[in-house]
Amino acid sequence: MHDTPLLVVENLNKHFLLHKALKQENAVYVKAVNNVSFSVKEGETLGIVGESGCGKSTLGRTLIKLLEPTSGTVFFEGKNISTYGKHELRILRERMQYIFQDPYSSMNPKMTIRDIVSEPLENFRKDMSSSEREERVAELLQLVGLSREAMTRYPHEFSGGQRQRIVIARGIALNPRLLICDESVSALDVSVQAQIINLLQELKQKLSLTYLFISHDLRVVKFISDRIMVLYLGEVMEIAPSSALFENPRHPYTQSLIGSISKGDPRSRAERHILEGEIPNPMNAPKGCPFSSRCPVVMERCHSEKPQLQSVGNDHVAACLRLTQTISQRTGDTV
């Protein structure tokens, strides 16, 4: 793992316009991604977790520019890609790829596997002859654990796990640097999930890839990630190395989230922690800290004041006013 950041995101915002209004200030926006900043080092896997509506998928799609960000900057390989136009964007597609959740819907049912996997090659390796392309497709299929015979077949002839392998083959066809995996194993059967996770790990080694791994499943994220970012209502709650996050979560939301996962052991049932309440509608998110409406240790000022991310340990940041309080020795309590 190198220390040079491959991806640096600064104050990224993606707001969706919900209701137009005559006056700009009356328009209703949903802040799907709100002031998100983080960086991904080369060769690392950053896990992004959160519940539905936390903006994790929007974030992924905004990074690869399938969605246009509202504001903020994204540096990829040192270049500011947020200003990229249509032509430069095409080049970016070569370096950054996206793996979808549902292996059933992410392939054109009317195309053969050969056509599906060679599509990025057709777009970017125009100098390749068709036989060279075919060789490359076979090589890619082999890399993801499928045989050459798969080429002439159609997606519906494959099982979910095999389909996800094909989607991964398409994703790595152009030797990208960064792979954004959006819930890439969530739709798979339990017994197949582990196979795909192992495949992703193996490919990362072989092709020195960097992953952005988006998932709601904390177990999977813990297994695959070097560092984890926790999102809630479009905002970053905590970023920490995987082990630190699970051993010493600092944000009350992270604590609740980890506490609410089942231990998977029938003898330790009572230990499951229940976080009360529900995720607020992003349309009327709480004013101060987004978690203030459910936080078990909420304070008066949490409802009005937005906490900033601050360092709480080695490579470990969290956004909670309680942490500010302990650091500044309770001086801010009356503010």
Binding site: R93, Q97, S105, N108, P109, K110, P120, N123, H156
Partner: protein
């Protein structure tokens, strides 16, 4: 087998075959096409050949069916049966050509509207609104008075007014398919818009377009019939089922000479019904929920 080993069409074909009405409809339609193709062989006379009453210099008008004239003769003494056979050619030529025009226009406009959205969508959909609200009959009467009436004008006119339903259908289908992951995935691996439309979207919305084509053909046949009946469609002496019905505008013919208007009316009804059965069969066959 004609069907490619692609399960979707494979299953659709099997489902279609199980639908009795659709199969009957297909056979009837094919029979009509065949008759139209070999009309010159089957027809006993030329369609515009006039017959005289034997020994007199008078047209053999309104002759009732006989061995000589299977379905009698019309107001000008022409053989109704021969005109019926040749009329099938004209009617089908008009309907098919018009449907090709409307499908091409409708599909292109639907694809562009649905895929690019925004201004283009708003623009094309307003055009659709305008075309739908257009008084077609008025347009055709005007055209046929200004220009030399020809079969091609009828084709063009029907084609140009009937693409709107195809355009709306295609637009809706594009909007549905556009959000699917594989379109987004194609976008993410750098495919151009044209490639996405042609390679990813079009093949996946072909089924509803095919249904629309069959239904559109039936509607075009009806439209040709009504236009010709009103005298603004296919013009005499070219026979078409529609203008053969023109004679039925006279009360005398309508009341006393059924051999003149029942045959063209019946074949129109039969063919349109058969095509509708095919269309319904296709729709059911393509619908995976069935």
């Amino acid at each position: 087998m004609l069907i490619k080993k692609n399960s979707f069409y494979d299953y659709a074909y099997r489902r279609f075959r199980r639908n009795k009405l659709a199969v009957i409809g297909t056979f009837i339609t094919l029979a009509f096409v065949l008759v139209a193709l070999v009309a010159p062989v089957l027809a006993p006379y030329e369609p515009s050949e006039f017959f005289f009453i034997e020994g007199q210099n008078v047209y053999n008008k309104y002759a009732s069916p006989s061995m000589e004239h299977l379905l009698g003769t019309d107001s000008l003494g022409r053989d109704v049966f021969s005109r019926l056979l040749y009329g099938a050619r004209v009617t089908m030529l008009v309907a098919l050509s018009a449907v090709i025009i409307s499908t091409v226009i409708g599909t292109i406009i639907g694809l562009v509207s649905g895929y690019f959205g925004k201004f283009l969508d708003a623009f094309f959909m307003r055009i659709v609104d305008i075309v739908i609200s257009f008084p077609v009959l008025f347009l055709l009467i005007s055209i046929s008075t200004i220009m030399d009436p020809s079969i091609w004008i009828v084709i063009l006119a029907i084609g140009l007014v009937s693409w709107t339903s195809t355009a709306r259908l295609v637009r809706g289908e594009v909007l549905r398919v556009k959000e699917l992951d594989y379109i987004v995935a194609a976008n993410a691996c750098g495919s151009s818009s044209l490639k996405i439309i042609v390679k990813h979207i079009l093949p996946n919305i072909l089924a509803p377009i095919m249904v629309q084509v069959t239904i559109g053909t039936a509607q075009a046949i009806l439209m040709e019939a009504s236009l010709s009946f009103l005298g603004v469609g296919v013009q005499q002496p070219t026979p078409s089922w529609g203008n053969m019905l023109m004679d039925a505008q006279k009360l005398l013919v309508l009341r006393d000479m059924p051999w003149i208007w029942i045959p063209p009316g019946m074949v129109t009804l039969l063919l349109v019904l058969a095509i509708y059965f095919v269309g319904d069969g296709l729709r059911d066959a393509f619908d995976p929920k069935q």
